[in-house]
């Protein structure tokens, strides 16, 4: 315990240097801005900025990226409440009640409860990360390749089969991602795969390219193709302020939301969609103002899910840092940022890069405070961003997409490929294919393949190695349960 305390203090010393504070601040501000702007999310923003990993030292850039990730959650709720176009899946629920509140002239209260709720949940969740992550890491050291492979399989299953509406389309997206991940050199034998003689493919396909293509370019293409005539109504912002009764209704919802969100973030259950919906359901059931839900907008319906969202986002750092397993798209891209530095995320991280890890955790405490200040008194400034007309906004995004994709490998070939991936993004959105499995598949795929082959080597080629070890067998049962249980429940209910 005292050990954690000294290390955290050390983290604060590193994160508190003026230069790192500046990185955190720029990250939080940029994150809030892109969270507010429709059309860009934290994943694609971090992806576009991945080229800086070639120059900026790891601690600074991780603090910067974490600030973006966090800031986008705060900013995203502002847009959901005022514009009803959630940028991130996690803020979808906020849009349900928040937009209704804003329509009835209570935008200020909705914004206040979401910002303060995010702060409360984010801070509690950071405390939990501080306490639990080192603990998980000490146990995770004992996991071998079979367990890692099963954990990754679990992540694949949840992200593709559970999250989307259709298992089939989720699986198709996942295997598309795995196929993209196959291009290049095989990690174990250095065998060349799927390069079709094109030298650019030897090093594989960059994550930046696929993320930017699918999310930024694809979004721009989709907008010009289909959304040109869609009207957008901006709700009026009023004073950001909560009455005494609104405070009383908010704080239990914040705490419940945190309690629901955190555990979901730590397991490979695919990000914040499930906990936010769950929290919304709980608040709706418990509220004494049930009649406000879905009609005039209930403040609990904003407070709970917002807290759940932030707690889940913070908690995704536990599996990311201790196991090297990303449970959301942004976490997957953070993982590839670490890979760019040659840093292996996993239980050893707390020993080998302990300065980095603790500075990152300390920066989360600092970032939360910064974001509260950025989002409560200054919310009016961010809302002005929503007045930027769509054409220059999306055309401008293309410029930054170029920076990210070209800057990564200095290859114009990648820009043509980005165009193709953009078209793929349009297709996937039009036919309701989820995109998260593509990114998770392409980043986690090569790692999972290596773990699987190492595990089979341990088992001397026998597949039973995956069920002979108790931990691995338990994880296998979990994978099967994730696949079978939802179907069974549906059948029982029908």
């Amino acid at each position: 315990m005292s050990d954690i305390w000294t290390q955290l203090l050390g983290g604060f010393v590193t994160a508190g240097t003026p230069i790192n504070l500046l990185w955190a601040f720029v990250g939080c501000a940029l994150g809030t801005a892109i969270g507010v702007l429709p059309g860009l999310g934290p994943a694609v923003t971090v992806a576009m900025l991945l080229p800086i990993t070639a120059q900026v030292e790891p601690t600074a850039s991780m603090i910067f990226f974490a600030g973006i990730y966090y800031g986008a959650m705060y900013g995203g709720s502002t847009t959901s409440i005022l514009l009803n176009t959630p940028g991130e899946t996690g803020t979808m629920v906020t849009a349900l009640e928040g937009f209704k509140m804003a329509k009835n002239g209570r935008a200020g209260a909705a914004l206040a409860t979401s910002a303060i709720g995010s702060f409360v949940a984010g801070t509690i969740a950071t405390v939990l990360v501080t306490l639990f992550a080192p603990l998980v890491a000490t146990h995770a050291v004992k996991l071998g390749p079979p367990e890692y492979f099963m954990l990754m399989l679990l992540a694949f299953t949840t992200v593709s089969a559970v999250l989307g509406k259709s298992t089939l389309r989720g699986m198709t997206a996942l295997f598309l991602g795995l196929a993209i991940g196959l291009v290049g050199l095989d990690q174990i034998t250095a065998q060349v795969r799927y390069t079709a003689g094109i030298p650019e493919f030897m090093d594989g396909i960059e994550v930046v390219l696929v993320a930017v293509g699918l999310f930024a370019v694809g979004e721009c293409f989709y907008t010009v193709l289909f959304e040109g005539r869609s009207e957008q109504n901006l709700n009026r912002l009023n004073k950001v302020y909560m009455t005494r009764s609104e405070w009383r209704r908010s704080w239990p919802a914040w705490l419940r939301g945190t309690a629901i969100g955190f555990p979901f973030g730590t397991i490979p259950a695919g990000g914040s969609e499930i906990p936010t919906f769950l929290s919304y359901g709980v608040e709706r059931k418990l509220s004494r103002h049930a009649e406000e839900f879905g009609t005039s907008g209930a403040i609990e319906g904003v407070a709970g899910p917002e807290a759940a969202n932030n707690a889940a986002v913070t908690a995704t750092l536990v599996p990311l840092l201790t196991l090297g397993i990303p449970t959301s798209v942004t976490a997957a891209i953070l993982l590839s940022a670490l890979q760019n530095y040659g840093i292996q995320a996993g239980p050893q991280l707390f020993q080998t890069s302990s300065a980095l890890v603790w500075a990152l955790i300390a920066s989360l405490y600092i970032g939360n405070v910064m974001l509260l200040v950025l989002n409560l008194p200054l919310v009016g400034m961010w809302v002005k961003l929503l007045k930027i007309p769509r054409p220059p906004l999306y055309a401008g995004i293309l410029i930054f997409a170029t920076v990210g994709v070209y800057g990564m490998r200095q290859s114009a070939f990648d820009l043509f490929l980005m165009f193709g991936v953009g078209l793929l993004g349009v297709l996937m959105r039009r036919f309701d294919f989820p995109t998260a499995p593509v990114i998770v598949g392409m980043i986690l795929g090569p790692l999972a393949e290596a773990q699987m082959r190492n595990a089979l080597s341990i088992g001397e080629g026998r597949w039973s190695v995956f069920i002979e070890r108790p931990m691995s067998a338990a994880l296998f049962v979990a994978v099967v349960a994730v696949l079978v249980l939802p179907r069974l429940l549906k059948r029982l209910r029908a």
Binding site: P51, V56, L168, F221, P392, A395, L398, F416, R453, G461
Partner: protein
């Protein structure tokens, strides 16, 4: 063509696309060595797995498309039919950028991309593409985004982006 029939057609085409991709992956997997070592599975194992699952997914998508459409499908947002004319401008912008970036430098190439794309996006909203005045405004706006972006990323963050001149400013 009625709405229903075009939907079946489009969804079937997506299924066929997945089948073709699976076929290509399988064809590629033929050329990958199967040397397994201790593991019992070699570098061609995952390619084969991905190829087979992709073929299965493609077949299943095709089946769903032809038997009442994709299941649990959410209606896509936005208009029913695509605005290809507006899209052509944006596509031209992105492709021109890819083709010209290394020749005319980041700033000018991205400014051109911006000008073409913003025009397409305006057209998609049903507004006029704009005359000479608007074109000049677009040029200036694009330049004011691309220029500072170039300077910020090359000077401050030392990312390599191509310039037209060797000065580092254009």
């Amino acid at each position: 063509m009625s709405n229903e029939r075009s939907r079946v057609l489009h969804q079937s085409l997506v299924g066929v696309g997945a089948l073709v991709l699976g076929g290509v992956l399988a064809y590629g997997a033929l050329g990958i060595s199967s040397v397994a070592g201790y593991a019992g599975v070699g570098p061609n194992f995952l390619p084969w797995l991905v190829a087979v699952v992709m073929l299965l997914c493609g077949g299943w998508l095709l089946f769903e498309a032809r038997s009442g459409g994709y299941r649990a499908m959410e209606e896509p947002s936005g208009a029913q039919s695509a605005d290809w004319r507006a899209f052509a401008w944006v596509a031209a912008g992105v492709l021109a950028n890819a083709a010209l970036l290394t020749t005319i430098g980041f700033i000018l190439s991205c400014t051109l991309c911006f000008m073409l794309a913003v025009r397409g996006l305006r057209l998609s909203e049903g507004k006029a593409g704009g005359g000479l005045r608007q074109t000049v405004i677009d040029f200036v706006t694009g330049f004011l985004i691309a220029g500072p972006a170039f300077w910020l990323f090359t000077k401050l963050l030392a990312i390599n982006l191509p310039g037209l001149t060797g000065t580092g400013w254009l």
